[in-house]
Subunit: 340 residues, 4 copies
């Protein structure tokens, strides 16, 4: 049994990850920590496991985690994960970071998009970006896995194979995405008060969302050239789920059939990626509480554009589920272990 630590187990992502690990056949949850000063019984954050599982989430102690865990999952706020991750790498642990702190290769993007200097640029080089289906080979050998952001996951999975095959014009990409409220975290802010979010829909951080450079990094690697995208996130009155609606120009030879075929060929054997047949499109409900990424597409012959839709559960494939999938890959478990 692999011993797992979850640091920051009280947030939505940490709780979801804990839930998945507790049900995983090949691992043991050996320690859960919080930045709060008092221990918290696990049922306070995961009422669904109470009476079945007795565990405490304890105030964070580096030494305790070091002693008890083989793999350390970081569900910490951005900027905090940087330092903690470095420490556990130095201590010889495998680190799977769910924050943004190791996602961008170019350290100069951090001050620009996250408003902070990055103190461990060497770790940025070392980190393997945990987009499971795309980076499987590297993840297998990584000691620092940087789990993708919730918004980048779906669009990157859909666009990377198409860009690699030069089937869409990399300068034409627009990503219109909408996320459930859990994506905003547990922090109490006016926008997530029930009376504000319920029966409401709006865009936010228009042209300014910090996931923009992460998506651009993924797409640039696939395209072999610098890609700049337009990205507009929206807040949905649902708890969980992201639907991304992508717009792009196919290159000349790219019919709808051709684009679909390339996606099927890229992901045909990957259990968690499902390509919808023509005329069918994903919905957030169909992937809720699952690790699936569903992809549908339609080429409009009137305008020559392709519309691609992707759906994930932001807490599963967009965070905790993909983290488990990456752990499975890294430690040689079946890729879907604990995720079915």
């Amino acid at each position: 049994m692999l011993n797992c630590a979850v640091l920051g187990a009280t947030g939505y992502t940490g709780a979801e990850l804990t839930k998945l690990l507790l049900a995983h056949p090949h691992v043991r949850v050996s320690i859960l920590t919080t930045r709060q000063e008092k221990a918290i019984p696990i049922e306070e954050i995961l009422p669904s496991v109470s009476k079945k599982i007795k565990l405490q989430i304890t105030p964070y102690s580096f030494d305790e985690v070091k002693k008890k865990a083989d793999v350390v999952f970081l569900c910490l706020p951005h900027t905090e994960a940087m330092t903690v991750g470095d420490q556990f790498l130095n201590a010889g642990k495998v680190v799977i970071d769910l924050s943004a702190d190791f996602r961008l290769k170019d350290p100069e993007l951090y001050p620009k998009w996250y408003g902070v200097q990055h103190n461990f640029p060497a770790r940025l080089k070392q980190a393997v970006y945990g987009l499971s289906e795309v980076n499987r080979a590297k993840i297998k050998k990584a000691d620092l896995i940087s789990n993708p952001g919730c918004y980048p996951t779906g669009p990157s999975l859909a666009l990377i194979p198409l860009l690699k095959k030069k089937l869409i014009n990399p300068d034409s990409i627009i990503i219109n995405a909408a996320s459930g409220v859990s994506g905003a975290g547990k922090k109490l802010v006016a926008a997530t008060h029930f009376c504000e979010a319920h029966e409401n829909f709006n865009a936010y951080k228009v042209n300014k969302h910090q996931h923009t450079p992460e998506i651009e990094q993924n797409l640039s690697q696939a395209a072999g050239k610098t890609v700049k995208i337009t990205f507009v996130p929206h807040l949905l009155p649902i708890s969980r789920g992201i639907l991304a609606t992508l717009y792009a120009e196919p290159t000349r030879q790219a019919t709808e059939a051709k684009l679909r075929k390339v996606l099927i060929s890229a992901y045909g054997d990957d259990v968690f990626i499902r390509i919808k047949p023509g005329g069918q499109f994903p919905s957030t409900k169909e992937v809720q509480h699952t690790n699936f990424c569903d992809i549908g597409l339609s080429v409009d012959t009137r305008t020559g554009r392709v519309v691609i839709l992707t759906a994930i559960d932001n807490l599963v494939k967009g965070a905790a589920g993909q983290a488990v999938q990456n752990m499975n890959i890294r430690f040689g478990f079946p890729e879907e272990a604990g995720l079915l």
Copy 2:
């Protein structure tokens, strides 16, 4: 007092229109009709007026409506409004049609997008498209006002002034829109069952929605050339509201400030159109139960694209409210009468 008839008062649009007309200071609701065979007390469709207002929605009779009404509002299904509208025009009434039956100038678009032949092409020429702020002068003298569709209203209001000034490239327009469930009407279908729509979000009729040619007609007139758009509608788990997120390429000279200035200049005196200052964007909640169309925009200097957001209440500015506004314009009432 102007005598009003509402045909099809039991649907969501008809009920909303009836509610607005009942509170209107200058009109009398003289007859409400239904295609059902038995009369329906008004409180069954408008519980909020019961005890205050006694009215029956009666089985439709052409002669009764002709006798009692000066203006006839058609809240009938598409294709049915065609014939009924023609009859009341022949009878000398002013007709305000909330269906799609008189919206498109080119009769050949009907078989293509609505699956039916149009039997009254001459009426298509006669009809004035009731986009209130844009067509005010023509609406003043119209006997047949064709009220705009819910999706076309916001995007058309935002884009027409910009296209007229050649500030955006007409070939670059993408409209990503999301509507509350009332837009789908009262009919019982699986997609609007609570358990399916709640906690869900998905696109539908991708590249195929029948409002596409209506939007294109509006934009083509403004651009002075044929405009083709990409339009993807989505279903939101809210009752009322449409948010449209528009993507386009500004032409060379068009800064964000310039675009905003043109919109303010176009609508500065129009009480129902509000242009958001820089960095602020509309939300469906802020316009719910109002006749407002809110517009916000952001030019991304990284990609050179402009993102424009518009929000309306689909049952008010997107249907019944704009119909009342058009009636006010046509009959010389203050434009905001009954709508504040």
Copy 3:
């Protein structure tokens, strides 16, 4: 025109009241205040009036309010309204208090249920409880009107006529009530975070809610003896609305027809109270955004119990609407002015 002040205009109740007063034909909103240190444009709390109305919510100043207002509405937190109310009464103003500070006649109930001493017991005697349909005669002459709590309004309206006629056993009353989230106010707490309240339902303050003594006071007055009730409030995943389900034992002669007749006779001429016919029951949606209190009832001959259901909008009849109704009564306006 009557000059009105709203103190605490930024909360949900204050904003709703401001909206109603702005649309009222016989009053002027002469000042809106906040405890915050900077002025707030009205559109920040009432986006639906922006562009139509220019007003600022200004930092509270006793002298300003005294100068500008004839009637002062207090939408202040409990315990704060006490002192402010006393001051404006001393200044000769009519005070309509929407807090609980003047609702209970017995000052000893305040420490017990609200955890504070009451400093103005003489004002408790002076205050007229603003249950409009029941206390109309006293409200007409009151200088201090204490607006009822949201939970007490529906049950009190339903039970008072029945208790007066000795048709139900006063020792048998159980009130099971459920409120929309706006009843909990704008304050950010975990229970009102979208992800916690959405898709959830639970009871709270079981047997301990501070509205219990207010309801008991109302019912005791009607019964002519001390009444103790069981009251369990629940939190509904909706924005607005309270449904109360009351259980009681009718006294011997009380058939369902008899009970309904007494209610119709008590409220037959009151436009805002609607008694449902047999077999029909109220719903929160039917009263949302209205000042109605809907009442339905069913006597179960199997068990001998009566079930009574009442529905109101907690922000309208349960707060701001009833406050306006009381103002109308006090100043001789038509009772429904500004409320239709």
Copy 4:
């Protein structure tokens, strides 16, 4: 591996049961049937299993089911299950019926509450009522298990131990319950249209719900005398979950501590029943997607009444989950198999 058939797999209950059985370690789903005429791929009703599991829901054939299944789950409409259940019992199968057709011992209750004659009164005698924690011993040996209704499950689990110990007055019981919309099934009716159910709350079938005699049967057995209850169900704007708020009079010696102790003693070893400590109460969210029944209680010393709250997921402990639990008991699997 035990071979299972699910008859009526396309409804909400049938789909949930199928999902649970597919993940169960000790059974095989050998056949799924529908009353529809064409086969349906399983992903249409369970999108979350597509790509992982290939199965068809096939048009119902008695012979096919008989050939393929050891245990037959009936997720059929009331009255239809009667006949089909009898047939499979005759064929020597174990039948677990999720309809109401075998729940009531007294055949005369069927015409009264369900409007139909019962054609197999001998089967009513044979049937074991599958309230798992209460009837475990009988379920172990039963060939016909009648799975409890969604509403009766929570209140019966809470009240049976208290009635057996004579700790509450059996004539004093009132059950106020609220269910998510999935409880009303997949059928398209106006009340479950998103626009009607969303942002709404109301009672229905007041004093008339068909689960009343089922609850009374359970309570009467526990009390050793005929018990009549008042039962009022309500419709919640959530997908899944039932919260029941019970009111009763404790008998003289019954303090809150005593009542809690009896419940803990009755269910202390039962993993799926959780008794909340004093001052804590259940919520539907805490049991959603689980087989738990959570119970909390409060004795009000002011009125002498006890308030008991129970929460379940109506599709799991209220239907499919309890059916699996009963199968586990019947076939000697660990009781929580496939349910954790």
